[in-house]
Amino acid sequence: MLVEALILSAILFVVGMLGVLVRRNAIIIFLCVELMLNAVNLSFVALSRFMGIEGQIYVFFVMTVAAAEAAVGLAIIIAIFRHYETVNVNNFNLLKW
């Protein structure tokens, strides 16, 4: 069952990546990043079944970080929205100078 779980994890990861690439709504992109994190979590859990409890502890930390990231990221999106009145990333090009 390990192989299947890992392949599922890979598919979920890639689908999340696809979302990041094709979506323009910043919140959805963010959501897709969460999806990628969950895909990795799945592989951790699956491997912990065979390799020891540490895998689950890592997942625990990943979730903490994801929570922190969600808090800060959503705060940034709110700040951006206040400025531009939109969350469509095509309207932001401040990364270029």
């Binding site: 390990l2 094709v22 959805i28 912990s48 903490t64």
Partner: protein, 174 residues
């Protein structure tokens, strides 16, 4: 029985994941995401990670997703999704790239179960013994508060900093 459940959960997870990506309405995407998380929690249970499954439902699907939903509602994005999904060449390129990556990953993961690397580890039997002895909470809590205690404390600080940062960024200028 377990395998059947796994495949059901897996199908739901993949399907709703695609839903997350392709649903134009952000609220719809979010609901698909909740479904994905829930089915992943089911798979966690199948792998005897009961504690994480509970956390997945309570914290991830319950708290974080509600936070997302709250922000979507706050910003009133429910119907602003006309040009949300990239089309044309960008879409093709994205599918091609991700498809290739998926192919490589799947090819690499095949045969992982019989990999000689796993021989050095306890395996499912060892894990079952550990869980029988300490229970899932004890098995996680013991290393978490001994070997990983410093990291654990650091995550506390990280959450505090994220909290302060989120307030500082999102706060309306007075």
């Amino acid at each position: 029985m377990i395998e059947i459940l796994f495949y059901i959960f897996a199908a739901v997870a993949v399907g709703s994941a695609f839903g997350v990506v392709l649903q134009k309405n952000p609220v719809g995407s979010l609901l698909f995401m909740v479904a994905t998380l829930a089915s992943l929690a089911g798979i966690f249970v199948l792998f005897e990670a009961h504690f994480l499954a509970a956390i997945q439902i309570i914290v991830y699907a319950g708290a974080i997703m509600v936070l997302f939903l709250f922000v979507i509602m706050l910003l009133n994005l429910g119907h602003d999704y006309r040009r949300d999904i990239q089309v044309g060449v960008g879409m093709v390129l994205a599918f091609a790239t991700t498809g290739l990556i998926a192919g490589i990953l799947v090819r690499q993961f095949g045969g992982a179960e019989t990999s000689p690397m796993l021989a050095a580890f306890p395996g499912p039997e060892g894990m079952d013994a550990l869980l029988a002895e300490q229970g899932i909470i004890g098995a996680i809590a013991r290393p978490l508060f001994t070997d990983y205690v410093i990291v654990f404390e650091l995550t506390g600080i990280l959450l505090l900093v994220a909290l302060v940062g989120a307030i500082a960024i999102a706060k309306r200028r007075v």
